[in-house]
């Protein structure tokens, strides 16, 4: 057993974080969100630097890809990193042109990144399919939850190229891992910005963060996020084994509810404003909780993978 990142893993993380420090971050996320836009430049930069090929690399794999997805989410990147870096290689077993959006057959409902995607990956029962999208085929959907959404006519699915029997469950597994990876990075950032604020905000002559009632709630959040992180990495390491992937997604979406609630409550009025960066990440947590059937569906997936049939 070895929990430390290897030198190669550290180098990958350092490289992606350097890139993200230059090109992503809350300011950029706020600017793009105001216009409902996608960060094509960031996606291009990630692609040129080779990060989209990490999962199927010769020396790297899905664990490294999951670490990169987590880092992109931590930086508030407005790119579909989980879909492109984890789900596409996991489901199609080859790279797909980005941006990639993920959907079930209900593409008439809001799909995250749908209006900007060139590739739509669809999980429909036992088979997953690939649809090449032309600009304008999906209609943008306005949302205040930190991601651009879009929806399209279900007839688009007639063009889907099947990835073969068994590709549906495989795609759902990787989708759950990607969802967990994005949630983990997003939660970590929301918690960080809250902790930093509570260290400097003073009331009654002391930092708010020094009050025990506040500390214990933040401690619970930190424990949940760390648990979610390792469940996610374990699921990536295990190749999105159904139970591990479902557990990672179920735990991450449960933790996301707690982190959303607590970071806002403890930040007080400033957290309700767009002045403060918390919303860049916190609102996204709410959106992630609804994906792929929502938090309840992730828990159901745990039960099904674990006790197919009876309890």
């Amino acid at each position: 057993m070895d929990f430390e990142p290897s030198p190669d893993q550290s180098a990958i993380l350092e490289a992606v974080e350097t890139l993200l420090a230059q090109r992503a971050g809350p300011e950029r996320a706020i600017e793009l969100a105001a216009k409902g836009e996608y960060d094509f430049e960031l996606e291009e930069a990630l692609s040129e630097a080779g990060f989209v090929d990490v999962a199927l690399g010769e020396e790297t794999g899905f664990l490294e890809a999951a670490l990169v997805v987590e880092a992109v989410a931590r930086a508030g990147g407005v790119v579909a990193a989980g879909a492109r870096l984890l789900v596409a290689p996991g489901a199609a077993e080859r790279p797909l042109p980005g941006p990639v959006a993920l959907a079930t057959d209900r593409i008439d409902r809001p799909v995250r990144y749908g209006a900007h995607a060139r590739t739509l990956l669809v999980a429909d029962g036992d088979e997953a399919g690939v649809v090449r999208l032309e600009p304008g085929e999906f209609e943008p959907v306005p949302s205040g939850y930190g991601y651009p959404f879009g929806r399209g006519a279900r007839s688009l699915l007639d063009r889907a190229d099947s990835l073969g029997p068994g590709s549906g469950p495989r795609m759902r597994g990787w989708w759950r891992v990607a969802l967990a990876a994005e949630a983990v990075g997003t939660m970590a950032a929301a918690l960080r910005v809250t902790v930093d604020y509570l260290k400097q905000r003073r009331q009654f002559g002391r930092a708010i963060g020094s009050f025990q009632a506040v500390q214990h709630r933040l401690a619970e959040c930190a424990v949940s996020v760390e648990g979610a992180r390792w469940l996610m990495l374990e699921a990536a390491w295990q190749g999105a084994r159904p139970e591990a992937a479902a557990v990672a997604a179920a735990h991450a979406t449960t933790a996301a509810a707690r982190v959303f609630r607590e970071t806002h409550q403890l930040s007080g009025a400033i957290g309700y404003t767009r002045e403060h960066d918390l919303h860049v990440w916190s609102m996204r947590l709410q959106a992630l909780r609804l994906e792929l059937g929502g938090a309840a569906a992730q828990r159901r997936a745990v039960a099904e993978s674990r006790w197919a049939g009876g309890a």
């Binding site: 929990f3 893993q9 469940l231 039960a303």
Partner: protein, 373 residues
């Protein structure tokens, strides 16, 4: 980063499981008081294999292995409900190895390694629970001896142990953490009174009254007044075996079995509840792995251990409570398979550092939030 056991570790796990087959009905994890002769026999059998000294240096009869092996042994023993790691082979032996003289090592280590000598932890006092620096029990030096007077409480297994691993005050009364020493006190010596405090799990904690009890000076471990750092280090030695996550896995399996037997396993509420608990069990396993990683890398791991303790013990209570709530009053009849768990699990969020202390460690040391306690 490599998640999971390597082949050698897997093979050790298989050996441990095979060994534990012979102790399926030992039940010492929960009932050590009642089962002491059998539990002691189990420790002796471990001693014969060298499994009480897995990580000790070979020079002192150890196998020179790493903390992963210790974790595997005690995690499996918890799953089998066989026994908990004995204090003697853990905190006591590791502290003696680090701070003891060669004479002390020769005197104490062989009996510990063979499973013969057993210790109770003499830290807590009526006025010093979570706040350990408030210890008052006093040791006065006279020539080659100390005379020890004071009260220890909440002491597990003292009725069966041979010695007390005693934290006591040798400095001025207000010296807090700067005036404490560690000693080995013979529980059968004159002036020792052990009184039981019956507990809700049908076992007992103990109060220990010490009235001028003699402790030879050669039984002090480490320098006088310098125990604080030693005690903190010793906590770090045992973090990876203190709250083995497979205990929770077993608890949940027992609950699932019970829901089947009670015909509740098709109930949607029950199924959803079980799935939620299963997710949390796996979460806690990841926390335990992080503690193990910290110990393996020689880091203190206080934050990881605090996270593991608070998450694991709160979950332990949730699992036990779920079963009882689904079962209704019939589930709390004495002798029902899970009612004991509900009573026992009450202790888990208190013993070994309360949840409140653990959350404080995560907040102050992990998140860097200021403040006192």
């Amino acid at each position: 980063m490599r998640i999971g056991l390597d082949p050698e570790e897997q093979s050790f796990r298989a050996d441990v499981r095979a060994f534990l087959e012979g102790y399926r009905n030992l039940n010492g994890f929960f009932h050590q008081d009642e089962r002491w002769p059998e539990v002691k026999g189990f420790y002796r059998a471990l001693g014969e294999r060298g499994w009480l000294s897995l990580t000790w240096p070979e020079r002192w009869g150890g196998l020179g292995l790493g903390p992963v092996h210790e974790f595997i042994l005690w995690d499996e023993a918890a799953y089998a409900r066989a026994a908990r790691p004995p204090l003697s082979a853990g905190i006591v032996a590791k502290t003696i190895l680090r701070h003891g003289t060669d004479a002390q090592k020769q005197r104490w280590l062989p009996g510990i390694r063979s499973g013969e000598l057993h210790f109770s932890l003499g830290y807590s006092e009526p006025q010093a629970g979570s706040d350990l620096a408030a210890v008052r029990t006093r040791a006065e030096r006279s020539d080659d001896d100390y005379r020890v007077t004071g009260e220890k409480c909440w002491t597990s297994y003292a009725q069966d142990s041979d010695y007390l691993w005693l934290l006591c005050r040798t400095g001025a009364p207000d010296s807090r953490s700067a005036g404490l020493s560690l000693m080995i006190l013979d529980l059968r010596a004159d002036g020792v009174t052990v009184s039981p405090l019956p507990t809700l799990d049908d076992a007992q904690l103990n109060e220990i009254h010490l009235d001028g009890t003699r402790v030879p000076a050669e039984q002090r471990i480490g320098a006088e007044n310098e125990a604080w750092k030693i005690v903190a280090e010793a906590l770090a030695d045992e973090r990876h075996v203190q709250f083995p996550p497979r205990r929770l896995r077993r608890d949940l399996e027992d609950v699932i079995e019970w829901t089947r037997a009670a015909g509740l396993d098709r109930d949607a509420t029950v199924r959803r509840g079980l799935a939620d608990l299963a997710v949390e069990v796996l979460e806690v396993e990841t926390h335990a792995m992080r503690v193990l990683a910290a110990v393996q890398q020689g880091r203190a791991g206080a934050v990881e251990a605090a996270a593991n303790k608070v998450a694991g013990t709160v979950l332990c209570q949730k699992i036990a409570r779920a079963a009882v709530e689904w079962g209704g009053p019939a589930a709390i009849v004495r002798g029902e398979p899970l009612e004991f768990l509900w009573r026992q699990s009450l202790w888990e969020t208190i013993g070994g550092g309360t949840s409140e202390i653990m959350r404080g460690v995560v907040a102050r040391q992990g998140l860097g939030l200021g403040g006192r306690r």
